[in-house]
């Protein structure tokens, strides 16, 4: 059911446009990288600030700004990612690195959902106080997103 839906992405007009156009794929691929830059850049900066490896920035401002930038990056990466996927869904669904990448994104987003529900996160946004639990989630976060990049790049080498 789910895989039938995912495979049908390849039958859309958008997918055949992506396959036939000489410029669509490189442009969408660039958009995907720009999305990753926003997403990982913002996440890394905030995580390193929470972990104490970056100390200059004001944590309250940084937390709000980075969360927003990461969300924008995620939207861009998601939309462009679906378009890149549509070009050959069967191949990607049979690619272990792709499946690992999707699983890592799922774990990363669960981490986001958990963090944003933590009272410690609200405290951080209000007072700037960094509780130990947030250091744990920040460390988890940076590792998951870096691993996602590696898994994503690995798709071409499976």
């Amino acid at each position: 059911m789910l895989s039938a839906l995912l495979l049908s992405v390849g039958d859309t007009a958008l997918a055949s446009f992506m396959r036939q156009s000489a410029i669509a794929y490189p442009i969408v691929s660039s958009a995907h990288i720009i999305g990753l830059g926003f997403l990982i850049g913002a996440i890394a900066l905030l995580d390193l600030r929470i972990l104490g490896m970056v100390q200059r920035a004001h944590i309250v401002d940084l937390a709000r700004l980075c969360s927003r930038f990461a969300a924008i990056g995620l939207c861009l990466a998601f939309v462009s990612g679906v378009m890149l996927f549509s070009v050959q869904p069967t191949t990607y669904l049979n690619n272990s690195a792709f499946l690992l990448k999707i699983a890592l994104i799922g774990i990363g987003l669960m981490n986001v959902a958990i963090v944003h529900r933590l009272p410690q996160w609200s405290t951080l946004l209000e007072t700037g106080a960094i509780s130990p639990v947030l250091r744990v989630t920040a460390f988890t976060s940076i590792m998951i997103w870096l691993a996602t990049i590696v898994a994503g790049r690995w798709i071409a080498f499976v």
Partner: protein
Amino acid sequence: MLNNHIKTMVVGVVATLVFWAATAAAHHGWNWAEEEQTEMTGTITEIYIGPPHPRLMIDTPDGPWQVDLGNPRQTRDAGFVDGVAEVGDEVLIRGHRHLDEDEKLIKAVRATINGTDYTFYPHLLQED
């Protein structure tokens, strides 16, 4: 002190990831393939013309092989476009096999189908 500990961990993990990525990056040139050009014949089982990389799947006496063609532009410039070949056609591939014998992958320099040559890398073609 916890900070130093975390720093050490992060540096260790990142260094591992970078090394891992670097060993993989070696794949993207042609140094993963044999220097020597060889030929193989097979029956086309799948044709993909499009980004990021056009390819054929072929059945050979040695089992199924993947044939990587040129990039989308090189493949089009070689004249290999939708309709020139069909699943079931015999194809003669000239190219570079993967160094690892277990990897059934050949990088095509030229494909010959129904008597027509499609040369993806004219400057790399070595004639016997």
